[in-house]
């Protein structure tokens, strides 16, 4: 289990993360989302032990990931900006992982084949997508308990994405691995994540089970005989208000039955309830806090 307690990080005078708290349980895939510059990559680097926290701690299975080198054997970090030494091949990189990590040769061979890679390939000559496959290959081959994927889907074509998702699902099922994925592609995250966290202004402003959260927010399409204003819905946790004449589109947080009951009491001519997807959930969460999101 990963526990992040009161994590604080600043770059010179800029506070990037402020007393951030988060728990990710074993065997789950956590989607980390946030607008550009929210601090997603910084958070992942702090978890991986690349950055030293200015306050608080990241604890994996009871051990501090920055202070204890041993625990980092259990963490695979795929950075958004991958580095490969000049002239390195998959074989030469394997030497590093094999020497330093708890390397799983069987898994390596399996994923090498799955990602259609050759051991003698010179990595610097590969395309962005192929380089990403190389990173994922090693992340999946070191018996990690926690896999951190920063913009993991960038450059991967659909078939590779599908294979990777399958591989992750297998790992979680068989090895109880935890995965944290940050991405701007929320549709991709929605397919694979079971929990999520929205990072804004240096804090996790919303997090939890993805299905439950989606279940707590619904889109309501209504038509009334008379014109109404936003104030008429002040008893509801309104995340989004939009109207065209007397037709209204509202996004409301709350249990569907309870919200519907309250809306029915207002005697609408029409009431439709629609599910929101992860992207909409993210947008409306941020919107309700007065923040925009570049879609």
């Amino acid at each position: 289990m990963l526990e992040i307690n009161n994590l604080y990080k600043q770059f010179k005078d800029k506070e990037v993360l402020k007393d951030l708290n988060l728990t990710v349980s074993g065997g789950s895939i956590f989607g980390l989302v946030g607008i550009n510059g929210a601090g997603k990559s910084t958070l992942l680097r702090l978890i991986a032990g690349v950055y030293e926290p200015d306050g608080g701690a990241v604890i994996l299975d009871g051990v501090n990931t920055f202070k204890d080198e041993g625990i980092r054997k259990k963490i695979a970090f795929v950075s958004d900006e991958q580095y490969y030494p000049v002239g390195s091949t998959i074989d030469s990189l394997k030497l590093m992982y094999k020497t330093i990590y708890d390397f799983n040769e069987e898994a390596y061979q399996k994923y090498l084949q799955m990602f259609d890679l050759q051991p003698k390939m010179t990595i610097t000559n590969l395309s962005k997508g192929m380089k990403r496959r190389v990173s994922l290959l090693f992340a999946l081959s070191i018996n990690a308990k926690l896999i951190l994927l920063d913009e993991a889907y960038d450059g991967l074509e659909p078939l590779a994405r599908l294979r990777f998702k399958q591989a992750l699902a297998e790992l979680i099922e068989e090895e109880n691995v935890s995965v944290i994925i940050s991405s701007h592609n929320l549709k991709e995250l929605e397919d694979i994540c079971d929990s999520f966290g929205i990072l804004e202004d240096g804090k996790i402003v919303s997090y939890g089970d993805l299905l439950e959260s989606k279940d707590m927010i619904h889109k309501y399409q209504l038509a009334f005989h008379q014109e109404l204003t936003r104030d008429d819905f002040k008893d509801l946790d309104l995340l989004h208000f939009e109207n065209e004449g007397r037709v209204y589109q509202l996004v409301i947080r709350g249990k569907e039955a309870e919200v519907t009951e309250k809306l029915q009491a207002m005697n609408p001519a029409l009431l439709d309830v629609l599910q929101v997807n992860f992207e909409e959930l993210f947008i409306y969460e941020l919107e309700s806090r007065g923040n925009g999101y570049e879609k």
Partner: protein, 491 residues
């Protein structure tokens, strides 16, 4: 416990290690190509040791850059600092790896040389002492070059820092030379090894001691080793290790690829350079006038702005920089004026008359415009220090002339004008040496121009204790003893 990071470094670079090792040995043994005589072999062996030392020194510069460049890239720190290898282990492993390569090559190469060519006449203990010293020297150099590389925040700045810090001892020495040359009457030159700058240069200390140790070992010369050249590098290595701890183990990873604004990076380097050059210009301004140095001040200001641009990656001329330059310039002029008014802070009249085996007065007298007229006179008086009392008369004479020359130096700013100038009466060279007729690297030399013309009687006094020769048109430009010339001229 097994060091897996070291194991990885070794395995990953095994081909390069072997390739460069063979190249290193081959280059070191080039002096032996084509010469096999016994007398030459000792010279060849010395050359081989020297080439090996030179190459290991180069490796002590290159390896820290190669091994630590990953901390300067955002992408590579993600890989290396996420490894299950603590920073202190990465630091010690990389330093040890660099040391093993640089020293290992030296040891193997010189050991082969010793076994093949020096077994019969090289004392093994001396060989072992040399290895011990080179080990300390290379470790110090690797620690320092790594530290200089790491005070920066990107690879380019790291290389600039290594070069800049290496050059600081030379700049210190140049400043000392400039002070001696302009502010101190008489003292003409100081050796780098006699200046404090030597203690800031592990390379100088290393090579100086190395050459002596090799000479002792190969040609059995008896020379004195400066113990400080062994102690100081050890102290520097300890201080450097603390610096490495701060700049690697406690390093903020996010410094990668940023402007190198750490105190010991550009801020110290640029301002140390600026201060030393301003001091040099200050000495020259007081000595030769602002007309001579004004263009140089403008050039320095331009270089200072360019350096600030290299530092901040943007042209930024702010009032703080200009104020620093202005205040630095004013202070340097105050110091230089203080040096001039105190006759080089008292150094000019504070010279030794013993401490060596011989005191030698020599020089030239400009006969044109003096009592003797129309000829040049050269003279030499060689005084064994142990017979100083017998030469008291001539020593007093020259010392009086010397004092007057010093007074004249500070009375006028034109003391060093040459023959064409009517005020040139001749020159006085005072030397202290152990070997008057051969090269003495520790020879102390003082040079003055006379403040007044020498009379014939004074020349006769010099001739009484030494040798005075006359040459010129009247002697068909041949040197004639003073006595003979005066006789012929009826003087």
């Amino acid at each position: 416990m097994k060091n897996k990071f070291f194991e990885y470094l070794l395995k990953n670079r095994s081909i390069a290690i072997v390739f460069f090792g063979v190249l290193y040995i081959a280059l070191s043994f080039t002096p032996f190509i084509g010469s096999h005589s016994t007398t030459v072999i000792r010279d060849n062996l010395t050359s081989m040791f020297f080439i090996a030392m030179l190459m290991s020194t180069l490796l002590a510069f290159a390896l820290p850059v190669i091994l630590f460049s990953y901390v300067h890239s955002k992408r590579s720190v993600d890989l290396y600092f996420a490894l299950p290898v603590s920073r202190s282990k990465q630091l010690t492993t990389n330093i040890c790896f660099a040391f093993i390569i640089a020293f290992g090559y030296f040891l193997i190469t010189t050991l082969i040389g010793y076994i093949l060519f020096g077994l019969s006449y090289i004392n093994f203990l001396q060989f072992a002492v040399l290895q011990g010293y080179i080990a300390i020297y290379l470790l110090t150099l690797i620690i320092f070059n790594t530290l200089f590389f790491l005070v920066a925040n990107n690879v380019f700045d790291g290389i600039v820092m290594i070069a800049a810090y290496c050059f600081i001892p030379i700049l210190l020495y140049m400043t000392a030379i400039s002070f001696v040359d302009t502010m101190v009457a008489g003292l003409e030159m100081i050796e780098f090894g006699d200046s404090l700058a030597a203690f800031a240069s592990p390379i100088y200390m290393g090579f100086s001691t190395f050459i002596k140790l090799v000479s002792r070992m190969v040609t059995h010369e008896t020379n004195k080793i400066n113990v400080l050249y062994i102690i100081v590098p050890i102290i520097l290595a300890i201080l450097g290790s603390y610096g490495l701890y701060r700049h690697f183990v406690l390093r903020k990873t996010e410094r990668a690829e940023q402007v190198s604004d750490e105190l010991f990076a550009y801020p110290i380097v640029i301002h140390t350079y600026a201060i030393l050059v301003l001091l040099m210009l200050g000495f020259n301004t007081v000595r030769f006038g602002m007309g001579f140095t004004l263009p140089l001040y403008l050039v320095l200001l331009f270089i200072y702005i360019v350096a600030t641009f290299v530092y901040r990656r943007k042209i930024q001329v702010n009032w703080k920089n200009l104020a620093f330059f202005g205040i630095g310039m004013a202070l340097s002029l105050v110091i230089a004026n203080g040096a001039w008014l105190t006759e080089g802070f008292g150094v000019s009249r504070n010279y030794p008359l013993d401490g060596k085996k011989y005191l030698i007065y020599s020089g030239l007298v400009n006969g044109y415009g003096s009592e003797i007229g129309g000829v040049n006179i050269s003279y030499t008086v060689e005084i064994p220090i142990d017979k100083k009392d017998e030469y008291k008369e001539i020593i007093d004479f020259f010392e009086e002339k010397r004092q007057k020359a010093i007074t004249k130096y500070y009375d006028t700013n034109k003391a060093s004008t040459y023959v064409s100038d009517s005020t040139y009466y001749g020159e006085l060279l005072v030397e202290l040496t152990d070997t008057p007729n051969s090269y003495d690297p520790k020879r102390k030399t003082y040079y003055y121009t006379y403040a007044e013309s020498l009379t014939i009687n004074e020349m006769k006094l010099i001739d009484k204790y030494g040798e005075v020769n006359v040459s010129g048109e009247k002697t068909d430009y041949e040197e004639v003893p003073l006595e003979e010339y005066l006789e012929e001229e009826g003087k």
